[in-house]
């Protein structure tokens, strides 16, 4: 499929697509700009419900970067399960200042980043360059 500018969107010759779910809008704004500085495409949502709607709608992403505790019917772990189910090739990074990584099932995420998140670009570039899940 061609995108708006007529470029191919086939995997391999396109920018990384990131679904960013974070309800703290100042954090979301900062993280989104950090990711766009890498040349990646970012879709910003504020709740897991919004993110799940995107995934259920068929949008292809390469990376989910999600907070865990967010308002709405579902949380970041539900969003991660939806991505694992629909897009098994996508990498999943969960962030939280409240939840510990060991409280989550290992298969639910490739990387856990406690808040405040530090050196996000390096961590994500390493993750996206790797084929082996990093925990």
């Amino acid at each position: 499929m061609d995108n708006l500018l007529g470029k191919s969107s086939d995997a391999g010759d396109r920018a990384v697509r990131v679904l960013l779910a974070e309800d703290e809008f100042l954090i979301r704004l900062d993280v989104a700009e950090t990711l766009r500085d890498l040349g990646w495409h970012v879709f910003e949502v504020s709740t897991a419900d919004e993110g799940i709607a995107i995934i259920d709608g068929g949008t292809q992403i390469d990376l989910l970067l999600s907070d865990i505790n967010m308002p709405g019917e579902r949380d970041g772990s539900d969003l991660a399960r939806a991505v694992r189910s629909k897009l098994p090739g996508a990498k999943i990074v969960l962030m939280s200042g409240l939840v510990r990584a060991r409280a989550l099932p290992d298969q639910l995420f490739d990387l856990f980043m406690p808040k405040p998140v530090l050196d996000l670009q390096t961590a994500l570039l390493t993750l996206m360059a790797s084929q082996v899940p990093t925990r």
């Binding site: 995108n3 708006l4 704004l29 495409h41 879709f43 949502v45 504020s46 919004e50 709608g57 068929g58």
Partner: protein, 123 residues
């Protein structure tokens, strides 16, 4: 139920403007996906759940509100598009291209925009 929720794709190169309007629309009960330019909007429009596109006419990066509008209508003619702009000439252009729908001029009133979305959704 999720079937009744209106999904809005909000496109603006101005992060604070986008975030502010996005939070307002979420407070009105809409689901909002935020994108910064035409490339991100095009990918987001791959999803089948977008009902309304609210986009700046002029974007800082790839594409314009007009090209996003045309792409959205090509993807799904039932998608409603609201163009916003703080450049009067751009709004006139948008109005001339009436198939792309009505335009709101910045600084627009968020409540007015919310009502416009509800009207487009037949509520």
């Amino acid at each position: 139920m999720s079937e009744a929720i209106t999904h809005v794709l909000l496109v603006s190169g101005d992060g604070l403007e986008r975030t502010t309007l996005g939070e307002y629309l979420r407070g009105c009960g809409f689901h909002v996906i935020e994108a910064i330019d035409g490339d991100e909007a095009a990918i987001a429009l791959e999803t089948k759940s977008i009902d309304i596109v609210v986009t700046d006419v002029q974007l800082r990066h790839h594409g314009s509100g007009h090209s996003i509008s045309a792409f959205a209508k090509k993807q799904d003619p039932s998608i409603e598009v609201i163009l916003v702009s703080n450049v009067e000439q751009a709004v006139k252009t948008a109005v001339d291209l009436c198939e792309e729908g009505p335009a709101e001029v910045l600084p627009y009133h968020p409540e007015k925009l919310m009502r416009r979305i509800q009207e487009l959704r037949g509520r």
